[in-house]
Symmetry: C2
Subunit: 146 residues, 2 copies
DNA sequence: ATGAATAGTTCACTTATTGAACTATATTAT
DNA sequence: ATAATATAGTTCAATAAGTGAACTATTCAT
């Protein structure tokens, strides 16, 4: 099989999955938060006291884009900014109680739906798939540092 | 292993891969076309004489979003619109010679870079991975029709 | 102490998307 | 045959997301 064919199949499939997952989340979150905003909120939830720079690096976007994201989450009362007392340039981000509730509630909804899709897969197949995906992500991230 | 953990790992990894691939394409396409625009152009390239509705369905967006995309590609001279003579509501889309050259050139660049990432994978691992990805895409697309 | 680096914000601009309203054409039902 | 309905695509106003340059406010280095 040719590389060209494999890459095209990969592109088509990953695009479909990515957009479909986005669509499902949009439907089920029943709220006026976007999936991009939820990704950022979730990252802050998992990495409490992280910074804008961390987020910019994680998602591969500029710092000004992160400022805009953070502003939207801040306006909704889902996160708080907190300046470092020692290095006053730094702003730490963390989720509020409201943000925590929101993440927990939304995750539950997401797991139910995605879980139902995964029923057609053998456990072994899921592990192998995720392992390959993580390996690919790792290789690509490493390469970035060069 | 818990579903929750698997889904979170999936989300993190696929997000990273998706954004990283986008970043690579952006770097290497050395042109003022975006990756979204290239996706649309590529779809038209592969499905000559397709319609806006086809594209809206493929990418899961509204028709007005497609009109905007098509306009951008049209302005760049990469595609042409052509009305159906029998059903004058319908507009067929196809790539111009310039568009064809552009797709071929860009694909070559993409294959070189993505190919280099895939060197760390066994052939078998790649096939299995793409097979699972396509299976997931298929399940999700089927579910959409309900 | 001065100059460079770092963290974050602001600003102007572009792209992508949505959804409602609209035009034009085709289909269907009475 | 015609009136109602459906379909294909566009336009428009709004929002979200991104870029990159210029900026503020710090901290670090020599």
């Amino acid at each position: 099989m040719e590389l060209k064919e494999l890459v095209e199949r990969y592109q088509t499939a990953i695009n479909q999955v990515y957009r479909r997952v986005n669509g499902i989340l949009k439907d089920k979150m029943h709220s006026d938060i976007t999936t991009d905003q939820f990704s950022t909120l979730h990252f802050i939830f998992k990495h409490s006291k992280c910074t804008s720079t961390d987020i910019a690096h994680e998602f591969g976007v500029g710092k000004s884009a992160v400022t805009a994201q953070i502003n939207r989450l801040d306006e909704k009362g889902l996160i708080v900014r907190e300046r470092d007392e020692n290095d006053r340039r730094v702003v730490y981000l963390s989720v509020t109680d409201k943000g925590t509730d929101f993440v927990n509630y939304t995750e539950k909804a997401i797991f139910e739906i995605l879980g139902s899709y995964l029923k057609s897969f053998e456990k072994e197949e899921i592990y192998t798939f995720i392992h390959s995906l993580e390996k690919l992500a790792k290789i690509m991230n490493e390469d970035l540092g060069e």
